[in-house]
């Protein structure tokens, strides 16, 4: 309080003590009087046996009485009673130690605590940073401390000497930042020889992303997120430091939740994103286990970027690891805490291609338009938009009421919202409630989350309920923690994605501006039997797709673990843990009668059970060897069991329309079972050495035994060595003024990798014809299969200046992935189209940089922290199998991503224009550009040159604002949608030449074989169609560079006063946005897109994915 302090003569106390020590007596006086009594324990320790009996007596008198038989006396100074020796005369000639406390920029630090250790005297620096402490002549030690600065001791300070200038260095959290490393071992970041990034849970949940992984974008160097763009499931593919496997099913990091690995892959419906024929399906994004984690439960995420960091996790962390720590109650008071937050987020299409609204449906301009035959003539209806201009005229058009040709001419007008109206505003409601409580030995946290998503397409979305429980109990030396999560996800309809007659985006590409979206709404001609797709009979009606082609999901997931840790003593502990992750999905797909692809309907049930069990132990031992060498040793082992059941039963044709059961099948329902079980056993050890506090060395070793490899090769050992040196501590570099921290780090590691189950033995596949079989088309690996080996080397430097207000963290890495277990293509003449084989050498190298800066002084009311991340990776194909020159990693709608020896991973091979010897485009005698569809060349790369992000966090009083820009330079993408939209005249880029025709840039070949400048006027409809042909990848591949305003969040924390009224501990309200702005030259919706194809996300191709969205929302949070 700021009331005037009362002096010892004013304050009266009552005190009765019998034979107490002086220390205890003084404490009692302090307690009774409320005046702080300061003393040096050495001075008072010899006095005891003090008895006193006073009532309502001034403290001054009491003290005199107490001290009368001692060599001590008291003085009253700075509102404190100070006990000093009698020979120390306070009235004697006193000298002063004076000085000024400043920060590393020389700015005064007011309020710093300056302590004179010998006399136990304190002073607080004033607003100019100045302080003064009285002391007799002599040498003293000062200790200066200030919040968030490093405490500094200054020895041999002479009383009465010159004024000191004491500079404090900022105490960056990261200096002794503790991070979780492999196996859940907590480490000081400075002791690590490899790259890690830690992201706080708050950073993730701040903008309430539906898929929390997106909140890592731009914040982690080396992290690349590839989006499926396949609907509300929002599945993404993550790579750290590039694709290090030739197999796109591999190369994703391991995900570990609270120390236990979880399943992160995806089991889809095996749909084809384009070119599907027959009874093949179209992809549905059912989400994946990683995306499903509730961001509200995440305390923090540590990203172990390279294999070195992850070496202890073994095989599955060959591409790095993402360690998630979920929230638990750490507050050990016995009060029940309640917290809730509630948010609503609105999604809308972020960006549309530049559609044209000047010409309607048709193949030529100078004629009339007629939907069906009419008095004006035969039908000119078309899915292309090269028809008549909208010029106020009237035509016989489609009548949405009669669903046929109108009886009168109606105005020919453009609906500028014909694309926008196809979408709706998506809404996500997210409500969470958590309870926490505990006492000195036990603590629990229970949280519930309800999330309801409505996607940007009508009748699509999902409901998610997530319950999580954690507890922590301590029984003497035994600590038991339990985490249990139950998730339930349910959807009545998840949309079909990609380019197929039953996907929404496919149909959208063939609409024209003369047809308002509403004309499609009446989608039945005969309910359940015959759809109305008269506006475009080649595709399904969009509302028929959304309301009848239903893809449902009912998913239950239980995951968690129980951990028991017994601490024998300060040096030894043993941890035992068991964890399970079981994800069971039941999915149905309905295809009604009259579907383009399934004329008599189809119904499918898919049951997927993915289970992973993990059991592990870890023994830890800490020892200090000699004086300055610390040793910590851990040894452990684990068993991981994976089970997968994927049962698909299909009624390929329905007997009666509108009834979706397996019993309604015309044929015997087709059953496809795809189980996969495996087990990996491991033993591992870790030794950490440190010399003083500045040299660190880690050595790890691990041996795995995998059931997936042949007996002779199923045991494999690998190691890692990493070290770091804190140079500024080693060689006291405090003279180098602005430098506050310099760390060098380096590591070398190997990780072995196994493969999928059942790849060694020769199996015949049951065929659809009962009791019959086919030989496998891929030769199994047999007994020669060996584990894959990834060898990684990395070096880095972490340097900080101005008390860590400016920091650079740079890492260079170089890794070789060899002996990859691949399906190498064979000449099918061998009888097999491929063989499973150890082959290939991929070299990944790159660098990662993180720059952090706090430009404003720490004392400033406005705080600003900015973080920049930058990373660049190159993956080169050094070797493939003997005699194999190329491996197709992904096949696009046209072209491939091919790994070719000497090339780079991600190179897109496709065809382009036919060019004359001088490089000019050759046109035919109709003036149309010619395509050289036979020769494929590298037309781009799916891999960006670099990725970067810059995040800013500002706070001013109760407001905090953060925003993040991120993006990439380079990278290319083949856009199938562009080919269709441009070829059909839907885009503004196809407006030039609509009336006059077009003379394309280039040449025409003369009869004698020579070339002349092109002088042939081409018809626009033909010209654009030919130019943007799918085979002309050259005209449909685009630079995927972009910058996005990824996140903005503005938060206001309520004042304590207001909180008292409602009885809350804390409360805040925030508004936020995700993906608010996009800057790019990419002509379609968003260059940050890939294709969900055959259960995996394939980069480099866009095949009619859904538009990306801009999200805006608000959250209110409170805790009680």
């Amino acid at each position: 309080t700021n009331t005037h302090a009362q002096s010892p003569t004013e304050v009266k106390i009552t005190l009765r003590l019998q034979k107490q020590s002086l220390k205890a007596t003084l404490s009692n006086i302090q307690k009774s009087s409320g005046i702080q009594v300061v003393f040096n324990e050495q001075l008072v320790k010899d006095y005891d046996n003090i008895s006193i009996n006073v009532s309502n007596t001034p403290v001054s008198q009491v003290l005199t009485q107490v001290l009368k038989d001692t060599q001590l006396k008291y003085i009253y100074q700075a509102n404190k009673i100070v006990i000093i020796g009698k020979e120390t005369s306070a009235t004697a000639q006193e000298l002063y130690i004076t000085g000024k406390v400043v920060d590393e920029t020389g700015e005064a630090l007011p309020g710093a605590n300056v302590k004179l250790l010998e006399l136990n005297r304190n002073a607080i620096s004033n607003s100019e940073g100045a302080f003064r402490i009285a002391a007799q002549a002599g040498s003293y030690t000062l200790e200066v401390s200030y919040i968030s600065y490093q405490t500094k001791r200054i020895q041999n300070v002479k009383a009465g000497g010159d004024a000191l200038t004491i500079e404090l260095s900022g105490q960056e959290q990261a200096l002794n930042n503790v991070v979780i490393t492999a196996l859940g071992i907590k480490r000081e970041e400075k002791s690590l020889g490899y790259a890690v990034t830690k992201i706080d849970g708050e950073e993730i949940s701040k903008t309430v992303p539906n898929n929390w992984v997106n909140a890592l974008s731009g914040k982690v160097p080396g992290l690349n997120i590839t989006k499926a763009g396949a609907g509300p499931g929002g599945t993404v593919r993550i790579t750290l430091r590039g694709q290090n496997s030739l197999d796109l099913d591999k190369g994703e990091p391991l995900v570990v939740i609270d120390g236990v690995p979880v399943v992160s892959g995806m089991v889809g419906n095996n749909g084809l994103s384009y070119g599907a024929t027959g009874n093949t399906e179209t992809p549905v994004d059912y989400g994946n286990a990683l995306s499903d984690i509730n961001p509200e439960d995440i305390k923090d995420v540590t990203i172990l970027r390279g294999p070195s960091a992850a070496a202890l996790y073994g095989s599955r962390a060959a591409s790095g690891a993402i360690l998630i720590t979920t929230k638990s109650n750490t507050d050990k008071n016995d009060k029940l805490g309640v917290a809730f937050n509630s948010s609503v987020t609105f999604d809308e299409v972020l960006r549309y291609p530049d559609f044209q609204y000047e010409y309607g449906a048709g193949n030529a301009i100078n004629t009339y338009f007629s939907y069906g035959a009419s008095p004006d003539g035969p039908s000119t209806n078309s899915t292309r938009s090269f028809g008549p201009a909208f010029a106020g005229q009237s035509y016989y058009q489609y009548d949405p009421v009669t669903k046929t040709t109108g009886t009168t001419r109606t105005p020919w007008v453009a609906d500028k919202n014909y694309v926008k109206d196809a979408f709706v505003t998506g809404v996500t409601y997210n409500n969470s409630l958590s309870l926490t409580g505990g006492d000195s030995k036990n603590s629990i946290r229970l949280a519930y989350n309800d999330m309801r998503n409505e996607y940007i397409l009508p009748n699509t979305g999902y409901v998610f309920n997530r319950l999580s429980f954690s507890s922590n109990s301590k029984l003497n030396n035994l600590q038991i923690t339990t985490r249990v999560n139950y998730y339930h996800k349910q959807s009545d309809n998840l949309p079909l994605s990609g380019y197929n007659t039953n996907s929404f985006m496919y149909g959208l590409m063939y609409r024209s501006a003369n047809i308002p979206a509403a004309w499609y709404k009446d989608y039945w001609d005969i309910k359940d039997v015959d759809q109305n797709n008269k506006l475009n009979s080649a595709v399904d009606n969009p509302y028929f797709i959304l309301y009848e082609n239903l893809n449902t999901l009912d998913q239950d997931r239980i995951f968690g673990n129980i951990t028991a840790t017994y601490t024998f003593n300060k040096k030894m502990s043993l941890m035992l843990r068991g964890g399970i992750d079981q994800n069971s999905s039941f999915r149905t797909t309905r295809r009604p009668y009259s579907s383009i692809r399934f004329a008599v309907g189809r119904y499918q049930e898919q049951s997927v059970i993915v289970q992973e069990q993990n059991y592990d132990f870890l023994y830890k031992y800490d020892e200090t060897l000699f004086k300055n060498i610390g040793l910590s040793f851990s040894a452990g082992g684990s068993i991981t069991k994976n089970k997968l059941k994927n049962n698909i039963t299909t009624a390929e044709r329905l007997s009666a329309p509108g009834i979706y059961t397996l019993g309604n099948a015309q044929d015997r329902p087709l059953v496809v079972l795809s189980p996969a079980n495996k087990e990996v056993q491991s033993l591992y050890g870790l030794a950490q050495f440190n010399y003083k506090t500045y040299l660190f060395l880690d050595v790890t070793g691990r041996n795995d035994w995998s059931s997936t490899l042949p007996k002779a090769n199923n045991s494999y050992f690998y190691y890692s060595v990493s070290g770091s040196a804190i140079i500024n501590e080693m060689f006291n570099l405090s003279a180098l003024k602005p430098l506050s921290y310099l760390k060098l780090k380096g590591s070398i590691s190997q990780v072995g990798n196994d493969t999928d189950p059942y790849r060694t033995g020769y199996y015949l596949n049951p065929s659809e014809f009962g009791g019959s079989y086919t030989n496998p088309t891929t030769l199994p690996g047999g007994n020669n299969l060996k584990p894959e080996i990834i060898t990684n080397r990395e070096v880095g430097v972490d340097v900080r200046f101005f008390g860590s207000r400016l920091g650079f963290d740079f890492t260079y890495y170089n890794s070789n992935s060899s002996n990859q277990i691949l399906t190498v293509p064979n000449d099918p003449a061998t009888g097999f189209t491929g063989r499973i084989f150890n082959a290939g050498l991929i070299n990944n190298s790159g660098y990662e940089l993180a720059v952090t800066a706090s430009p404003l002084s720490k004392r400033s009311k406005l705080q600003w922290k900015t973080t920049l991340t930058y990373s660049s990776n190159r993956s080169l194909v050094k070797e493939l199998a003997p005699n194999v020159s190329e491996i197709i990693m992904a096949t696009g709608p046209r072209g491939y991503i091919k790994a070719v020896v000497g090339g780079a991973i991600g190179d897109i091979y496709a065809s382009g224009y036919l060019r004359a010897p001088d490089g000019q485009i050759v046109h035919d005698n109709n003036g149309l550009p010619l395509i050289d569809a036979e020769n494929f060349k590298i037309l781009g790369s799916a891999v960006p040159d670099f990725k970067a992000g810059i995040q800013n966090q500002l706070s001013y009083g109760r407001f905090s604002l953060s925003f993040l820009f991120d993006g990439q330079k380079g990278g290319d993408i083949y856009s199938f949608s562009h080919s269709v939209l441009a070829g059909a005249g839907k885009l503004k880029s196809t407006l030039p030449g609509r009336y006059g025709g077009i003379i394309g840039q280039g040449v025409v070949q003369n009869a004698d074989g020579s070339y002349r400048k092109n002088d042939i006027v081409a018809t626009p409809a033909d010209y654009y169609n030919q130019m943007y042909l799918r085979d002309n990848a050259e005209a449909n591949i685009f630079d995927a560079s972009y910058i996005k305003l990824r996140e903005v969040s503005l938060e206001y924390k309520f004042t304590a006063k207001l909180l008292q009224h409602i009885g809350a501990k804390s409360a805040s309200i925030s508004v936020y946005g995700r993906d608010l702005l996009l800057f790019t030259s990419f002509p379609l919706y968003d260059p940050e897109i890939a294709t969900l194809n055959r259960n995996r996300i394939e980069p480099g191709f866009e095949t009619g994915q859904f538009p990306s969205t801009r999200s805006i929302g608000a959250t209110i949070k409170a805790s009680f």
Binding site: D667, N826, D827, T833, N883
Partner: protein
Amino acid sequence: CTKDFETLNTDPVKVTSVAPGSLLAPAQFDGMWLITKRAHRLNNELMQYTVETGVLNDFARYEFRENEFDPIWSTLYVKANDMNEMYKIAEQRNDANNMAAALVMKAWFISNLTDMFGDIPYTEAFKGRDELYYPKFDTQQSIYTSILADLKRANDLFNENKPFDSSDLIYGSDAVKWKKFANSMRLRLLVRVSNKSEMNAPAEIAEMFTNPTKYPLIASNDDEAMMKYTGVKPFINLFFEMSAAEFSGSRRMGKPLMDLMNTTVDGRRFRYATKNTPGAYVGIPSGYNEQETIAFADNNGLKTSTLATTLKDDAYPFPILTWAEVNFLLAEAALKGWITADAQSYYNKGVEASWKQWKCTWDGTAGTTYLNRPTVRFTGSTANMERLISQKYIAMFFSGFEAWYDYRRTGYPVLPVGPAAKNNGILPTRFEYPLITKATNKANYDAAAARIGGDNLRTKVWWQN
């Protein structure tokens, strides 16, 4: 504690050994679909049965993507491998009928491969399990020698008195019919290589023809090798699952076929094609550029014919080797004097067999009227190869790539090459080797390409020279 690893890593759904006959059905079905689907896509365009007006209109100008032929190579080799494995298992069990069936099916697949590409891997093929990953290419002659011997051997092996336990979709494990199929296949292939004197085809054909007890041939529609789909999944005509747009939407009937059939008022037209708006069967010419082709198809708004929609019925049967074909083969043998027989009567029987195969009314006056049409009648100077092969061309509609093989061998029927045709204006004489073999078996590919005189669409295969 890794004891149970082997059990754990054993696929619980699949099997490691099977009965030989259980390999038959999927190989027949998949092989048939590959040939029929690719014929719909390629043979029908090359032989101008149809002319594509949509995205695949390049085919009619002899332009193909570099990976166009990969599915043929991959599927036929994989299916031939199934038959190779089937033979091995059957041999271990001394299962003569399944051994023989495997030889016939393998000969069907391999002959198609070599007829399309020329020299192909054969003696070193199907040895992936023995770690032979880079098979050398054999000459077409040696391949033919081998498969003709296999077919002869199949005839010896088939025995209706021995068990024939198989999943056969063609004859339901009827060894008698299989024997006829084997000999008819041998007849087809002998005629194909009949230009090569070293193959001694006329004598071999005569030997078969004169000893029908030992070498029975397909002798009725009932005997012919057809894929008679039941219409119940999985045994359905997969064109049923192809969208109408893909099956016929952008395809139009070719002018040569429609003209041939129109002049003779051919009763099979409605089985093959649709009528245009005024109700006529109208085809369009092949080998023009896209715009011209679209204009031909539109026919000034009167439209043109496309493939009959009945062809994509789920139970619509498609032929492998028909009685009609056997008759035309024998007619040719008789015409050329290899056998002592009346060419006209086999020719007439061939036409009749075709009509009956296509379920057209033959009895009464329909058949005789047709056979007496001036451009059908096979007598005197009109009893020539052009007439024979032209009639066979009509009959071989949707019979794999047979029409193209005949055209390459005989030059009939005479087909116009359109003005926009590439390939030096030559109707392709073979397919280019697929990308997959170039990428994975390069040294052997290079050697083969050099030996045949260049891997392009104009090089002639051995039996054409």
